[in-house]
Symmetry: C2
Subunit: 362 residues, 2 copies
């Protein structure tokens, strides 16, 4: 059992702190007789770079200023201040919301957004200004994925504060929603995380007791993982020191599911806390189609176009990725995780999984 | 607290029984020197009727026969027998699978399906022959929705057999997967079920303690509810005797989410156990857009086309549905559940929900 340091509660305090400091700064500016203004890094594409150091996209040095003294800024400036206020309200009262909800809630305060993309954009501004992701100020996506395995957590939300749950308590998997995302990690006997794209395989892994046989926490990604799940995987990696292995379909889209967990997306270049740079794309590789003689389908034109894009993408520069992209292009085949069932339902657990984990641990 | 009769275990036994009887019949035919054959109701569109009695689509009297004595039947007949065998294996060993998995698993037995639609169709044949849905023989969808509230269940799956869980144990909601679907209901203090289309609202309802204030089990549908969730809602209604209230967006697609829970789909005309005829579509109604002065959007051409289809659909013949379809067509507006946030985050819980429940209970 590992002992784990507390962090989720401290995180919430820091978010409240930064929002309050933002408000305080605006007051100071006004008290000095200045128009209040906010400086933040520009998120325009000419200010997004791939950082080999962070192994993710980051924002460059270019700044933008929103000032109440500029009539063209007045609308987005007001929207931004309201959004920061609303984020503070949610976080302070420990209520959660969604992007859709924020759009409608604005109307309750007489703040107008012409459509939801406009309000989404302002929420991204708040993320950029305070340097935390929207999940940290309680704006969650609709989607949720799940986890299963021996990890005991302690809730920090109202009515559940201090209550604990072991994540083997429900064998369909425990949903990764606001309550779990904000929970403290108490103890675990696991020594790795295995993340899986498909729900069917996640259930199979639980049934075959992969969590026990491989001492693992199992995460169900539900396709492209929601941001809160990416953040949760990062926490498992950073706070618990667990290596992360990602399994997805053998096609460019499956590869990218793994890559976004590892290195994030250009859209989140203003955030550092959604990536797990040391997570490992563990399969299904193009080369597995050959070596495991898996049933496969022909790549479509769209698949091939996507492979060409990935080949040039700076996140894909490492040897493994380039090698597998080349094999995909050569064999022009793809396959799914479920293809292992061709050799029986438990083949993937009995043979493929131990072989691959051994190979990656070496 | 209500005491609840056991049923999930008995159900599993009945499924195994019917599959074994099917096999026994085939053996008998062969021992008599006959070509083995299976008779089942036809699922062609000319044999699908709306039944006012069952309040769902049902199959008519037309039968089809698959016989090993007919060379054109040999392929689907063999596929059907294999699928029934595989269903029996899964159910007997309490292993779960998905439609995708079945397609690949067939290859392990030397059974060929030209594509997944072909294997899906054969699984539907097995449903038709034995009169149980594929979830009953452990073939589950990838999607899963969630439930939250005071209901204690007892698992019937291996390794969890006899263990109990109260469904308030995880405040993000408890996933409705194979383990929960097959669990026995032990006790509950709830007197109703409130089913909600959107995840954001489900979380809001938990935060605002709707389960306590309204003595309810809360179900998150995740859009169009997966079949296993529809089946689970039916169980809550039939085994626990709880009335079911469904809340979805005010547009033809939201209406249909409610309708499919209530009266099912034509695709499942061969099954009786996926519907909850007494469940109530509780909002958001077209008339609510007017009476609650909700922010709304213009109906698209596609929305209007869909409304015309629903107007003619036999499932929509009742007064409430026809009235609301007419209002939609008149005001040409739609709105989402989140639109209530226009009056503050808790307005939907403080005002709308109690008013609507009172109205429907009267």
């Amino acid at each position: 059992m590992k002992e784990i340091r507390f962090s989720a509660r401290r995180r919430r305090k820091e978010v409240l702190n930064r929002l309050e400091r933002l408000g305080y700064k605006l007051y100071q500016q006004m008290e000095r007789g200045e128009f209040p203004a906010i400086d933040m890094p520009s998120r325009s594409t000419d200010n997004i770079y791939y950082s080999p150091e962070y192994r993710q996209y980051v924002l460059g040095e270019k700044k933008v200023r929103r000032s109440a003294g500029n009539i063209r800024h007045l609308r987005p400036f007001t929207q931004l201040i309201w959004a920061a206020y609303f984020a503070h309200e949610l976080t302070a009262n420990q209520k959660t919301s969604t992007l859709r909800d924020v759009y409608y809630s604005a109307q309750a305060y007489g703040i107008s957004f012409k459509d939801q993309p406009e309000s989404n954009d302002i929420i991204t501004d708040v993320e950029t200004v305070i340097g935390f992701s929207r999940e940290d100020f309680n704006i969650f996506p609709e989607e949720s994925s799940a986890i299963f395995g021996d990890l005991t957590i302690e809730y920090t939300i109202p009515n559940y504060e201090g209550k604990r749950l072991n994540l083997t308590s429900h064998p369909d998997g425990v949903m990764i929603g606001p309550a779990l995302t904000s929970a403290e990690f108490i103890e675990t006997s696991a020594d790795k995380v295995i993340a899986i794209e498909k729900g069917g395989l996640f259930t199979r892994f639980i049934e075959e007791r992969v969590h026990e046989k491989f001492n693992a926490l199992l995460v169900y990604l539900r396709g492209q993982a929601p941001r809160s799940t990416r953040y949760f995987i990062r926490r498992l990696n950073q706070e618990l020191g667990l290596p992360v292995y990602i399994f997805s379909d053998a096609d460019p889209w499956g590869m990218h599911i793994a890559m976004v967990i590892i290195s994030g997306s250009a859209n989140a270049a203003h955030l550092r806390e959604l990536t797990t740079p040391d997570a490992k794309w563990s399969g299904v590789w193009a080369s597995d189609i050959i070596s495991y003689k898996l049933p496969s389908d022909k790549l479509t034109d769209l698949d091939i176009k996507r492979l060409h894009e990935l080949k040039r993408d700076p996140r894909y520069k490492d040897k493994l990725w380039q090698r597998e992209i080349n094999i995909f292009m050569k064999i022009k085949r793809k396959c799914e995780l479920e293809a292992f069932s061709r050799y029986g339902l438990t083949h993937i657990v009995d043979k493929y999984l131990p072989e691959r984990l051994k190979q990656l641990e070496d």
